[in-house]
């Protein structure tokens, strides 16, 4: 037999195998995860992957008796057109049963028409703009929205003798949303926002803004900053310029998230935030979550992104269970709308109309627990729905 015919035979054999094997492969449930796996936001992708895979591992490798196959797709940064292409490929070519992931709002919005058409249940692990889930009936969200965590914080500030607050937010979409949510809720309770500072997104030197906060005569500063360098720079400036020492309180949301927290060092001690998830949340379910993450990777970080993915997989798990592994988007979403369970963050449920997660929001303070910086929950604001309607 000459080499050429051997090759022909080999190709023929593998083709035949592909045909025979194809029906078997269809038994597995395919989940496409879309997120940034390269570039400056790659850590989100890694956190999604960790949370999702740890969940399946913790369930013994199968969800509702079905083998689950993850297909990861990389969007880099905010890139709606590429995200749309990737989602289309996943739906049409890879024939995924579910989609998950999404860090950036524009990326999530871009897939709305696709999933509406293909009836693919899509679980958002992060993207936090209120209106997204309205864009398709197949969106379910297991993260949070800015107003969901900001409104209780503003009310708490007004109730706790903080009558004058200055807002300092990064000058981009979510920052402006956060500023609006805080202002509305705070002034409704009789508080005064004495100054609203918007900091350019390219800012490296935060000292001038911190001096302005100091000069404004406010008792506290409400801030919203994107994670990473801006976040670290602002907190450093807040401490170095003596704001903490002069008694101007720091009020934030995601700023002290576990991924950035240990990079602040002791500068973070005493920072006050309102948020839905702390790795220091004291519950059996949270301990199981962290143990599962660390079993997969001892250096894993438990934060809002990994818990978003973990709970997202819980929702997908229940949807697989409800449809017995068959592809039935409408039935799956109908089942998801009724879910309520004990998440690592506390008791949660999916809101029947908005398909967004309803969860406790906690007031937290950064403290050292066993020598490590942690967000200790000092007060539970109780279950919070997405408060967009009340905030605007």
């Amino acid at each position: 037999m000459n080499p050429r015919s051997i090759r022909t035979l080999a190709i023929g054999a593998s083709l035949a195998c592909a045909l025979i094997c194809a029906p078997a492969a269809a038994q597995t449930v395919k989940v496409g995860i879309i997120g940034p796996f390269s570039g400056p936001f790659a850590h989100y992708g890694a956190l999604f992957k960790a949370g999702a895979e740890a969940y399946v591992q913790a369930q013994g490798g199968k969800l509702a008796g079905q083998t689950v196959e993850f297909i990861y797709r990389d969007t880099g940064g905010p890139n709606p057109s590429q995200t749309k292409t990737l989602a289309q490929e996943l739906i049409v070519k890879d024939k995924v049963d579910y989609l998950g992931g999404f860090v950036f709002t524009p990326n999530a919005l871009a897939v709305a028409p696709l999933i509406e058409k293909s009836k693919t249940p899509t679980v958002i692990f992060n993207a936090a703009t209120s209106g997204i889930t309205e864009k398709s009936d197949y969106f379910i969200r297991t993260s949070y929205t800015l107003s969901q965590v900001t409104v209780p914080l503003a009310k708490w500030a007004a109730d706790n003798k903080l009558s004058k607050v200055v807002t300092a937010v990064t000058d981009y979409g979510p920052g402006v949303d956060a500023e609006a949510a805080f202002k509305a809720a705070f002034s409704a309770k009789g508080g005064t926002v004495v100054e609203s500072i918007r900091m350019p997104i390219s800012t490296t030197d935060f000292a001038p803004f911190v001096q302005r906060i100091k000069a404004s005569g406010a008792q506290a500063v409400y801030t919203f900053l994107p994670g990473g360098p801006p976040n670290l720079g602002f907190v450093k400036a807040y401490n170095d310029n003596g704001l903490a020492a002069s008694g101007i309180r720091f009020l934030g949301t995601a700023e002290t998230d576990e991924y950035d927290l240990d990079k602040f060092g002791d500068a973070a001690l005493g920072l006050t935030t309102a948020f839905h998830y702390s790795a220091a949340h004291d519950s059996a379910s949270n301990k199981a979550f962290i143990a599962a993450l660390q079993k997969r990777d001892p250096a894993a970080v438990a934060n809002y992104a990994s818990v978003g993915a973990w709970d997202g997989l819980y929702v997908i798990h229940k949807m697989i269970e409800a449809t017995k592994g068959k592809r039935d988007g409408a039935a799956a979403v109908a089942a998801a709308r009724k879910l309520s369970w004990e998440s690592p963050r506390g008791p949660v449920r999916i809101d029947d109309t908005t398909r967004h997660i309803v969860q406790n929001v906690y007031l937290r303070k950064v403290e050292k627990i066993d020598g490590k910086l942690a967000n200790r929950e000092v007060q539970n604001f109780g279950p919070q729905a997405d408060q967009r309607t009340t905030a605007q």
Binding site: G39, P40, F41, A42, H43, D171, I197, R198, M199, P200, I201, S202, T203, T204, D205, A207, P208, F209, Q211, R212, K214, A215, G228, P229, L232, G233, K236, D240, N241, G242, Y259, D260, K263, G265
Partner: protein
């Protein structure tokens, strides 16, 4: 009045950080006439070196700083000897393409080794507090950068203008063949000056890290700021770079105090006006 003082203090402090970051580039770009867009990558290398030595291995900060600056210089000199010297006589476009490619390579390398997250540089206790200026406080680290920047500016100006080595640099850039004919070891001079530029970049990376935190995308993120300082300051003029950095720092700070909603607009308007007024450098008529 306090506002004006605040703007001056913060502006000078910020300007000095800009100067420390850019002064190495002023040497390679200005004195050696080599378009080195990988400058930010050298700054990042210096920063990561201190972060690893002082942070992970617990070295003394000052020892780590000296070792990191020398190591970055040696790394620069090595690259110069192996690769970059072949680019001196190539057209500018090839220099740009090569050095930006090198930057991408180093960004990916840093990402692979250290991961995408921000790295801390642990400061010694003497630098971590704040100084009381009477009407306000200033972070001690910023005051140290101020002194270090002035020292670097003085030392470099003196080296270039007064020492034999400075004369050699200027001679080998202006007319390499004639300089070589006069017995000046131009290869050594080029290699050493490039190494010095890289070492200064490393120093800037460490000292500037409080404002420009270390992460793999660092070399691309802050490159524009450094290029602006060198362009406005005038190619190769160290006092010019210092002056430009201070003016731009004060303008940017003033805009943050007064019209922050305009973003970085004033910074770039100032750059445009200064370049239109003195295209060859802020101190060159």
């Amino acid at each position: 009045m306090t506002l004006v003082l605040n703007i001056l203090v913060d502006g000078v402090a910020y300007g000095m950080v800009l100067f420390v970051m850019a002064v190495g580039l002023s040497i390679t770009l200005g004195l050696m006439k080599f378009i080195n867009l990988s400058h930010g990558a050298f700054a990042m290398a210096g920063g990561y070196a201190v972060s690893v030595l002082a942070g992970t291995h617990g070295w003394n900060f000052w020892v780590a700083l000296v070792v990191a600056v020398i190591a970055t210089g040696a790394f620069g000199a090595l690259l110069e000897t192996l690769v970059l010297r072949h680019l001196y006589r190539r057209p500018e476009l090839q220099q740009v393409l090569f050095t930006i490619g090198l930057t991408f390579f180093l960004v990916a390398t840093a990402n692979a080794i250290f991961g995408p997250q921000v790295r801390n540089i642990p400061l010694p206790s003497i630098l971590s507090g704040s100084l009381d200026l009477g009407f306000r406080t200033l972070p001690t680290q910023r005051a140290f950068v101020l002194l270090a920047g002035l020292a670097a500016a003085g030392l470099l100006t003196w080296t270039v203008a007064r020492t034999r080595f400075g004369i050699w640099i200027r001679a080998s850039v202006d007319h390499a063949d004639a300089a070589s004919g006069l017995g000046i070891p131009i290869r050594l001079v080029q290699c050493l000056s490039f190494g010095a530029g890289a070492a200064l970049a490393g120093l800037g990376g460490v000292l500037g890290a409080e404002l420009m935190p270390l992460e793999p995308y660092y070399p691309l993120k802050y490159l524009v700021l450094m290029l602006v300082v060198v362009a406005v300051g005038g190619m190769g003029s160290i006092p010019g770079s210092l002056c430009a950095a201070l003016v731009l720092g004060i303008v940017d700070t003033a805009s943050k105090y007064l019209v922050s909603e305009w973003g970085s607009l004033l910074f770039f308007v100032a750059m445009g006006l200064l370049l239109a007024w003195r295209p060859r450098g802020i101190l060159n008529r």
